[in-house]
């Protein structure tokens, strides 16, 4: 992965296309993964569009980034987090009739998933689906903290900066999230043990 240096960011701020490309290249996998895991499998079809919207927001505001105040990746994750929350807020504003569409979409999504991941056995698919469903039951704040910590391996300070809360709150949200997931995934944990 290309290291995102201050110089690279400064060149991107000046409109350098190669620098912009290097940044997208370096960050597109974690951005897509975070958006997907936060929003859930029902958004699979739109996931690349949503990730692209995140990058558009990042580059519209890149002039305002100050390397003395935050790491660039931490700054980008604040856009990921805010965009995910915005997407869910907009979905809540939709009429309830769309829930049926979501269910249909989810069923089609799992069909697509089987096609795209033929090497995974059905048990793993089932486990992945179950983890996704368990994550979806968490509150949005807990879910975001959990994803940033467990999947993106960010430290508590970075997560606190991204979510706008103190480190103690980050820890307590993470604890509650993991406790909830452990209970929901207990059958799979026992089978694995």
């Amino acid at each position: 992965m290309t290291e995102i240096t201050d110089d690279l960011v400064r060149r991107a701020q000046q409109g350098d296309e190669a620098a912009s490309r290097a940044i997208v290249e370096a960050l597109h996998r974690p951005v897509i993964a975070t958006v997907y895991r936060f929003l859930g499998t029902g958004w699979r079809r739109e996931i690349e569009d949503l990730a692209q919207e995140v990058f558009l927001k990042v580059f519209r505001a890149i002039d305002k980034f100050d390397p003395t105040r935050a790491k660039f990746t931490t700054w980008v994750y604040t856009f990921v987090r805010n965009h995910c929350f915005d997407v869910l807020k907009k979905r809540r504003l939709k009429t309830s009739s769309l829930h049926a569409v979501d269910d249909d979409e989810r069923q089609r999504d799992f069909a697509d998933r089987r096609e795209l991941l033929p090497d995974q056995d059905s048990e793993n698919q089932e486990l992945g689906r179950r983890i996704g469903e368990a994550l979806a039951t968490l509150g949005e704040d807990q879910r975001m903290v959990f994803i940033l910590r467990e999947y993106e391996s960010l430290d508590y300070r970075e997560i606190a900066a991204i979510t706008g809360v103190n480190e103690g709150t980050v820890k307590s949200r993470l604890f509650r999230a993991k406790e909830s997931l452990r209970k929901q995934l207990q059958p799979y944990l026992e089978a694995g043990a």
Partner: protein
């Protein structure tokens, strides 16, 4: 009374005028007044503030330790390897290319929108009419309009509404030729209008043909206009020119109305 009251109000203690205390004095600093904490039991004495503060700090520390221990336990029970089964979908090969293209296009659009604020488009017919109404003698202009008369068989009329040149752009001039019914003698107004127009054309041709080392007209206006009389969102340099002319006549005039000649039209109306 608290045992710390001997030191008087805040700022009069051992800190004195020296600011930060020395290392030896640090442990003897007076206790400031603390708000009653959420953990303090009801009816607790006011001088229990120190104990309350200490207990809160210790409790917070204990909670933090408990959280760390609980998280460590859950790390064992909920291993990351298991969580990795919830994997994101494969990413399209063209994602980076399309994202960079979208970013560049977005950047171009925003720059274009920004620059468009400083590019003067063709003035609208309404603007031209209002400006001419204000510039020409009101009576003469009214006479010309009332006559609707032609010059050598051609009528003169103002631009109507969104009349354009056929290519989607409004005509740059307010006057346009129209076929008159019959050839008539030129009216009184046109007798001085034509020589004036001819003289203006000759002067323009002379000026145009001279080798020029002067900057473009818009730049001259921009450089010569005080900042407080120029509008960044003006659709044309003409309002700025007119404002500069009017300013020469009345240096105290304030031009705080929108562009597009409204202020000039209003001034003419009030002068009629």
């Amino acid at each position: 009374m608290s045992p710390h009251d001997d030191h008087g109000p805040a700022g009069d203690g051992p800190l004195g005028e020296h600011g930060f205390p020395g290392e030896a004095d640090w442990l003897d600093l007076p206790m400031p007044e603390l708000p009653e904490g959420p953990l303090a039991p009801e009816g607790a004495a006011a001088d229990a503030g120190v104990d309350d503060f200490v207990s809160r700090v210790l409790r917070a520390r204990d909670e933090d330790r408990q959280l760390d221990a609980g998280l460590a336990r859950l790390d064992q029970e909920l291993p990351k390897a298991l969580l990795q089964h919830f994997a994101p979908p494969p990413i399209g090969d063209d994602f980076v290319e399309s994202a960079v293209a979208a970013i560049q296009l977005d950047r171009q659009r925003r720059w274009r929108a920004l620059l468009a604020r400083y590019v003067a488009p063709e003035p609208s017919p309404e603007f031209v009419n209002r400006t001419l109404d204000a510039l020409f003698d009101a009576d003469a202009a009214a006479a010309v309009r009332a006559e609707g008369a032609g010059i050598h068989g051609k009528g003169i009329r103002r631009v109507d509404g969104a009349a354009g040149t056929g290519d989607g752009l409004p005509r740059p001039l307010a006057w346009q030729a129209d076929d008159g019914p019959v050839a008539r003698r030129a009216p009184r107004a046109s007798r001085w209008l034509w020589p004036l127009a001819a003289a203006a054309a000759v002067a323009a041709a002379v000026l145009w043909s001279r080798p020029s080392h002067r900057p473009p007209f818009e730049l001259q206006v921009a450089l010569g206009t005080p900042a407080d009389r120029a509008w960044a969102d003006a659709v044309s340099p003409l309002p700025t020119v007119l404002a500069a002319v009017a300013s020469a006549e009345d240096s105290d005039a304030l031009f705080d109305v929108p562009v597009a000649g409204l202020w000039l039209a209003a001034a003419t109306e009030s002068g009629r």
